[in-house]
């Protein structure tokens, strides 16, 4: 089926670009390895948890940084969580922003923190869009009767 092959090709190209551009790292591949017939939606489930966590954390960060007296320990705690969950799914660019963000927390640098928050939000939205597009592609392949290519 030409349609399936074309979709699979698209999937491979898209996935490759995500790794190349640093949106995803090897941890995402590790997640895919954990998906099988008895856990067919594992990746989507884990990524959904990441989306939920991220949105909550971004809100908490915005609130914490708006306080008259910023509690940098609290801010750092949120960033630490965000760094952890992004790293757990392989959202490399988000993790990298979090690393810088933590440095600014340590320095109690409000300006730096606010900039990092914007960056973190930006990177999160980007990777979220890309992952959603990837999952849509997967669905299209499955609906066309094909199987998802294994990426190495």
């Amino acid at each position: 089926m030409a349609a399936v092959i074309q979709l699979q090709r698209q999937f491979i190209d898209y996935t490759t670009s995500l790794y190349k551009e640093g949106y995803l790292d090897d941890q995402f591949t590790q997640l895919q390895k954990l998906q099988d017939e008895s856990n067919p939606d594992f990746v989507v489930e884990v990524v959904s948890l990441f989306f939920e966590d991220s949105e909550k954390l971004l809100n908490n960060l915005a609130t914490a940084l708006q306080q008259k007296t910023v509690d940098y320990k609290q801010v750092d705690s949120h960033v630490h969580q965000f760094k952890g969950s992004s790293s757990s799914i392989g959202a490399q660019r988000v993790t990298n922003v979090c690393v810088h963000f933590r440095n600014f927390c340590e320095e109690k640098n409000l300006d730096g923190c606010l900039r990092c928050l914007q960056q973190a939000k930006h990177e999160y939205i980007l990777v979220r869009n890309k992952l959603e597009a990837l999952f849509r592609l997967e669905q299209q392949i499955l609906q066309a009767g094909g199987s998802i290519p294994m990426m190495e």
Partner: protein
């Protein structure tokens, strides 16, 4: 003694992590190796769970309603948790006469030598850097076969496994950031 050894019961791992994402991950990783997993979100819940196996609290043997003793063969815990840290949990386990022989593994996102050494010195068998992978969980095998059946008459022969994570191994593992935070940084 009112204990029934369940023949061929899967090895039971207690996983402790305050992040639901990481709990889901570690559970899946452990289940790949066919371990039975209980996942809790705090050190206090872990102790509560472990406390249920306290010998004093076991129900007296009754033919119709006796419960097989719930054994925990290994505990794997996150280091950074609100309330009780993984280190504090480790310490409490090692201080307990009934629990001290259960192998404990610590997971952390921070590659901090002082932290790692402290945990190993306190009795942790391994220290895994997050995100934890299948190859890490594979290293748990020797610790699980050793403690497999608490009430077994014959002790299983355990090779002196050198797979214990050392400081050198930790340094060699690639992490995206090398910066170590001062010890007073909570996590």
């Amino acid at each position: 003694m009112g204990v029934i050894a369940v023949a061929n019961a899967p090895l039971h791992v207690l996983a402790v992590d305050d992040s639901n994402l990481d709990r889901k991950l570690i559970e899946r990783l452990l289940k790949t190796f066919s371990y039975h997993v209980t996942a809790v979100d705090s050190g206090s819940k872990a102790l509560e769970f472990l406390g249920l196996q306290d010998v004093e609290k076991l129900p007296s043997f009754a033919p119709n309603d006796c419960q097989p003793e719930v054994e925990v063969n290994l505990i794997i815990t996150d280091y950074c948790m609100p309330g009780m840290t993984g280190f504090e949990l480790l310490r409490k386990i090692k201080e307990s006469t009934s629990l001290k022989d259960i192998p404990v593994v610590i997971m952390s996102s921070e590659n901090e030598p002082a932290r790692i050494n402290r945990c190993l010195e306190e009795g942790a068998e391994e220290f895994f850097l997050k995100p934890v992978r299948l190859s890490d969980v594979d290293k748990l095998k020797p610790y699980l076969s050793k403690n497999k059946r608490k009430n077994n008459d014959e002790d299983e022969c355990v090779s002196n496994d050198k797979s214990r994570l050392k400081y050198d191994d930790v340094e060699a593992r690639s992490m995206e950031e090398r910066k170590t935070f001062p010890e007073n940084q909570s996590c």
